[in-house]
């Protein structure tokens, strides 16, 4: 019997997200719990821990943007030029309007 790797996730305080903290090597879940408590919780630095056998983690690390979906993002828009043009056409300036800056 050999040891296996358990990934450790920890919640720093109530309401905080679970975040990956590191990993421990242990022969089984019971030992993994003891090691994780010792290495990631002995200083009271964690409110909760999750232990996951490494094989159980499914990783996705490729995200193809085939259809150029940048319209979902703020950086997909550049309005500066057109805003200036629109103001010029209307003959307005934000500063001169009520509540203007």
């Amino acid at each position: 019997m050999t040891s296996r790797v358990f990934e450790v996730f920890r919640r720093e305080r109530a309401g905080a997200p679970m975040q990956h903290a590191g990993s421990v090597v242990a022969p089984d879940a019971r030992f993994a719990e003891i090691y994780a408590r010792e290495q990631y919780g002995r200083r009271g630095e964690s409110e909760a821990l999750w232990l996951v056998p490494r094989e159980a983690v499914g990783e996705i690390d490729e995200f193809v943007d085939e259809f150029d979906l940048k319209y979902r993002r703020v950086d997909g828009y550049s309005i500066k030029e057109r805003l200036r043009e629109a103001r010029a056409r209307a003959g307005t300036s934000l500063r001169d309007l009520p509540g203007g800056r």
Binding site: G22, S23, V24, P27, F31, Q39, R42, E45, E59
Partner: protein, 299 residues
């Protein structure tokens, strides 16, 4: 250098980060593994000089604090060996190499301790020197190592304070207690000046080239001198180097350490090297039945 390696190098040099499962050039993996392994070994061997003082600590409070520090350091070794394992070298192989004298650990852990003064000076100044290097490693291109370093630096924060507190208690005590600190400083200054290594320029350092390290050796030593020499002097203590002074430009001048001695010490020829490795060998044999039982039970 092939195209893939060139691309990898350009990426890490411009701040790119590498994860455990990513492809990496053999040279990067080999250098990184060796470096982190030495770091892990140092944490593990570093507890031995302090361990000798648990039973001799002067008060219960000191005993508890020292034990907590030692537990932290042993924990650092555990965290770092995990990083090494994910890079491909099993922990068992690291420990085998360590007790066979094939692996390195930091020079300061090859020296004996003589009094409680040494315990104060080690926790204060050896940990201070170490934390300077460890803080610089927060910027390491290998992200799993950098992340573990964040946890380690956080845990280290009380070690230096614990050491300084011991030193302050001794220098405000009797003449004899003050003497203990001065003697310990006299003993530890040379090894401390060697701690950050010979002043190899950053551009010639392959560890900097791959952005495993981001701080040149001399830069680390200067930071150490700037931070801690004034704190030693303000206690009326002296350091055994007549050349030691702060230049106009803020850099420190000092007597060039004997780099051959450093090389000899880290290759296992220090005054306490053999004893420490022998002790590690003995404890590995002693606890072998535990790992065998645990693994058998889990089978």
């Amino acid at each position: 250098m092939d195209g893939r390696t060139e691309e990898f190098l350009a990426n890490v040099q411009s701040g790119g980060l590498v994860e455990a499962g990513d492809w990496m050039p053999d040279e990067y993996r080999a250098r990184l593994t060796k470096f982190v392994e030495m770091h892990a070994n140092s944490e593990l061997m570093g507890v031995l000089p302090e361990r000798d003082w648990i039973l001799r600590a002067p008060t219960l409070q000191r005993k508890l604090a020292l034990t907590a520090k030692i537990q932290d350091e042993a924990g650092h070794a555990q965290l770092l060996y995990r990083v090494v394992e994910d890079l491909g070298k099993p922990r068992e192989a690291c420990l085998d190499d360590l007790i066979a004298g094939r692996a390195k650990f930091h020079n300061v852990f090859h020296y004996p301790t003589k009094s409680w003064g040494d315990v104060g000076v080690i926790a204060w100044l050896v940990d201070a020197a170490a934390i300077i290097s460890q803080k610089a490693l927060l910027k390491c291109s290998y992200a799993p190592y950098a992340r573990i370093m964040r946890k380690i630096c956080w845990e280290e924060s009380f070690h230096i304070l614990h050491g300084r507190d011991i030193v302050l208690t001794l220098v405000t005590g009797t003449e004899g207690q003050r003497e203990l600190v001065q003697e310990a400083l006299d003993r530890w200054w040379k090894p401390l000046m060697m701690f950050h290594g010979n002043p190899i320029p950053a551009e010639d350092d392959p560890m900097v080239h791959w952005r495993i390290k981001s701080q040149a050796n001399e830069e680390a030593r200067q930071q150490f001198l700037e931070g801690y020499v004034p704190e030693v002097w303000e206690l009326g203590l002296t350091l055994p180097d007549p050349e030691l002074r702060r230049r106009e430009d803020g850099t420190w001048e000092y007597t060039e350490p004997d780099w051959d001695e450093l090389r000899a010490v880290v290759t296992g020829h220090g005054p306490a090297s053999e004893e420490r490795i022998a002790f590690r060998r003995l404890s590995r044999e002693d606890v072998d039945w535990v790992s065998r039982t645990v693994l058998a039970e889990a089978a």
